[in-house]
């Protein structure tokens, strides 16, 4: 407490009050303690009383409400309710992972960005586990999260996937699709779709880092760590640090993600390669976060959050995401601030320049439908 105290002593009270209002629970406790202590020193105890009243009324208390359903290998959604908010742990690890994972995700969004759930209005977080038999996937259906058990029905030697709740970042990835739906509502195809995917990977990874208390340089930046069984030659389904290197496996093939616009993949499959080209904005975020240092959720995460909630629109492109994150960084931290320069470096690293005209990839998709190949767009 003392180490924190000395830092907070030089912080003006109105800023401490801001921390009490908007900080994480830990930050709030420290700030409140500091406020009380300094008021005591000044002999103004009545302030403590008013602070207590302030805490009771003005501090937003998020209403985290989770519900976990068991689909029992069927497809009817939602399944049967097996764990509600505050209920004791289940004997089923998938139920507990979905419960705890959606809880930590709620916490990052609430503690750091002041967001109260998916819709910023306390929407219940609903997760469905044991979807189908041998379902090697997880998805967000517009209202709820859905998780398969991977290859549980195959002989051990043939299994590639574990259950999909096993990775915290997969859970946070799915929940973030909900946040995106209520904010920029990025269309799920072409570059807007890849940005949608990238936002889910960004907060997927940040939730994991937040839980592990890792700085940008300590984090592994892998998406889906632990999802593959030992039969797969790979560390996860994607990596934001080095897109294209997450796996290289005789059965699954090689990670197809580009880390730079020059390797942008023009395809009509996967809604225009939304899970492939997300490597480009993913890596831009990684470079920005590393450049800024410290906890990635604090500055880089805040810049991207402001961009997602205030700036991006349904059909936004990579170029617009580049320009708008730069703008958001300027608004949050000042024009030409180190933070804004870090955003510029992030996008430079993937071949997108502030105010430039990066190809949108849309023409190639249209041509692709007719079986034609797009010329180089630049």
């Amino acid at each position: 407490m003392h180490a924190h105290h000395s830092i907070l002593c030089i912080t003006p009270p109105h800023m401490l009050q801001e921390i009490v209002r908007n900080g994480s629970p830990t930050q709030r406790d420290i700030a409140l303690q500091t406020l009380i202590t300094s008021e005591q020193i000044r002999g103004q105890r009545r302030v403590m009383k008013s602070m207590a009243a302030f805490m009771a009324t003005a501090v937003p208390s998020g209403n985290k409400e989770r519900a976990i359903y068991d689909v029992k290998n069927g497809t009817q959604l939602p399944g049967t309710l097996v764990r509600g908010e505050g209920d004791p742990a289940s004997s089923d690890p998938a139920v507990n992972e979905a419960y705890d994972g959606s809880g930590v995700t709620y916490d990052l969004f609430f503690d750091i960005y002041g967001r109260n759930s998916i819709n910023n209005n306390g929407l219940k977080l609903e997760s469905n586990v044991h979807y189908q038999k041998g379902y090697d996937n997880a998805f967000w259906d517009g209202k709820q999260m859905v998780y398969g058990d991977g290859d549980e029905d195959l002989p051990v030697a043939e299994r590639l996937f574990n259950r999909f709740t096993i990775s915290l970042d997969i859970i946070a990835h799915e929940l973030t699709h909900g946040v995106t739906q209520y904010e920029a509502n990025l269309a799920y195809w072409d570059q807007a779709g890849a940005l949608n995917e990238s936002m889910s990977d960004v907060y997927g990874s940040l939730v994991k880092q937040y839980q592990r208390k890792q700085t940008a340089s300590e984090a592994d930046w892998i998406i889906g760590e632990g999802l593959f069984t030992s039969n797969v030659n790979g560390v996860g389904i994607r990596t934001m640090k080095a897109p294209g290197t997450a796996y290289n496996d005789p059965v699954l093939g090689k990670d197809p993600q580009p880390a730079h616009m020059k390797d942008y993949v023009r395809t009509v499959e996967d809604n225009g390669g939304v899970h492939i080209n997300s490597g480009v904005p993913n890596h831009a975020f990684y470079v920005t976060a590393l450049e800024l240092g410290g906890n990635a959720w604090e500055k880089a995460g805040r810049i991207w959050y402001k961009t997602l909630t205030d700036k991006l629109q349904e059909r936004s492109t990579f170029q617009q995401a580049c320009d708008l994150t730069y703008e958001a960084a300027g608004e949050l931290y000042g024009v030409n601030s180190l933070e804004q320069q870090a955003v510029k470096k992030g996008w430079d690293a993937v071949g997108i320049t502030i105010g430039g005209d990066a190809p949108t990839g849309c023409l190639s998709t249209i041509l692709g439908i007719f079986g034609m190949k797009a010329p180089a767009e630049n």
Binding site: G134, D136, N137, F139, H173, Y188, H275
Partner: protein, 103 residues
């Protein structure tokens, strides 16, 4: 009868494809698949029920060819007709267990 199954999307964005010639299967398996095609009322299903793509869901394209007719259906995890789901599950299962071998 021939069935061509294709799955794209999902959280990894991977594609898998499977072609099944029912003539080449053991009788019980071939009979089971024919039954699932019948029970799905496959030839009366709408061509495209894929809808607006839902994040990370799979999209499926299934073609069934007989000597006299052929029908292709595009659908997804979210929008698949209830009567089609048992066939979808069976084909997904077969595609998964043949991963790695070129179908």
């Amino acid at each position: 009868m021939r069935i061509i199954f294709e799955r794209t999307g999902g959280i990894m964005g991977l594609k898998s494809r499977l072609t099944i010639n029912l003539d080449e299967l053991p009788v019980d398996q071939s009979r089971n698949l024919s039954r699932l095609v019948d029970e799905a009322n496959f030839f009366t299903l709408p061509k495209d029920s894929s809808g607006r793509p839902a994040p990370d869901s799979f999209q499926y394209t299934i073609t069934v060819e007989t000597d006299t007719t052929s029908h292709t259906v595009h659908t997804s995890d979210i929008t698949a007709a209830e009567e089609l789901r048992p066939l979808l599950q069976e084909l997904s299962q077969r595609a998964r267990s043949q991963r790695g071998s070129k179908a």
